[in-house]
Point group: C2
Chain length 191, copies 2
DNA sequence: ACCACATCGTAGCAACGCTAGACATCCTGC
DNA sequence: GCAGGATGTCTAGCGTTGCTACGATGTGGT
């Protein structure tokens, strides 16, 4: 009984992850509008109702994908920040890593930051990985500066702005490096 | 024949605008996901196929709403900029007007800047009203500065970032004024 | 007055998210 | 070892979506 139900639980967890990965791959390959419950079910080789035994619905699946993305992004930003020898260049490196993340995985980024979500961001029940990503920006500023939370917010928002507008073609996709330079030098520079 | 077909054409144009207005109001009241072709048809008191004799589909209707929004935004920004007596404060005023526009009409803003679109932004066939809105930002900077296009791009992007993230609850909706201050002083301030 | 044409509504299609109930399969207790 | 119960999966279907083919209606020109 114990060993068997453990195996079942293991299989169930694997399938849970399989659904998330399949949704993410499908979204990245053909966009979120192509991620239907039918296609997703076919892809994981189960019937539709199985999806609903793991998630409350399509939105919950997208939320799970987004959460996975938050963890990966926070990890990536952290690594880049710690690898920066000079603190003054840390923000630049983190910013570039952020833009690269958005450009390399547009569908994932969309699920995280653009699609409507009920994930709470600046609340008590905010997932840790979510706060962790933001904190990487905060850590790039002087701990003694009382406005460093605000500076991090605005830096993040500006990066999100150029990432989102470039992704949808609303500003020319080239020239992101130049925009990043401007943001970093103006915001992180001495006031 | 002439007078009658002219009247028909007039009625047709009125209905065209009626559809756009109805879609916009419905989206603003209940969100874009509530704007279905059936509900929209009922609201304008015609049957569904009539919508398709005016627009290529739902996306085209949303595009028409967005274009109307671009014209209004450009107009609003222009007025605010010209009303600014002191040039150094023009950018601040334009920025606040932009954020107000986004906050007051979230569905319209969403159609303009967040939803997938095939409207070209930085191309030859860019609608005039669209370029006009961007130019209001450009005009806030020194005409002799070779980087003023870049400065306008980044300013606009940063404003879009805080508008979009605040609208979806990803940053606290309060404190936009503080963020605006920071963006304006850091970007428009002397480098 | 009559025909031709344009215009509009009814009805229907495939696909969507989601769910109820039948079916099969496996574990448990005697 | 074997029936009984519980767990898990699939088939089938509901209501709604964007969109369209086709028939009815009514107007305009000759």
């Amino acid at each position: 009984m114990s060993a068997i139900s453990e195996r079942r639980e293991r299989e169930r967890a694997q399938r849970h992850q399989l659904i998330i990965t399949a949704a993410r791959e499908l979204a990245e390959a053909e966009g979120w509008e192509a991620v239907t419950t039918r296609r997703l079910a076919e892809r994981v080789e189960y019937s539709q109702p199985v999806l609903y035994s793991h998630f409350d619905g399509k939105d919950a699946i997208m939320r799970a994908v987004a959460l996975e993305g938050f963890a990966e992004l926070a990890d990536r930003l952290r690594r880049v920040r710690l690898a920066s020898t000079e603190p003054s260049r840390a923000l630049h490196a983190v910013g570039r890593a952020y833009l690269d993340f958005a450009a390399e995985q547009p569908a994932l980024y969309q699920a995280m930051f653009e699609l409507p979500t009920d994930v709470k961001f600046a609340h008590a029940e905010t997932p840790a990985s979510l706060r962790a990503g933001f904190d990487e920006f905060v850590s790039c500023f002087d701990p003694d500066d009382p406005r460093r939370e605000l500076l991090a917010e605005v830096t993040w928002s500006a990066l999100h702005g150029i990432a989102a507008l470039a992704k949808s073609g609303r500003i020319p996709p080239g020239g992101q490096a130049e925009r990043l330079d401007l943001i970093v030098t103006r915001i992180a520079g001495t006031p």
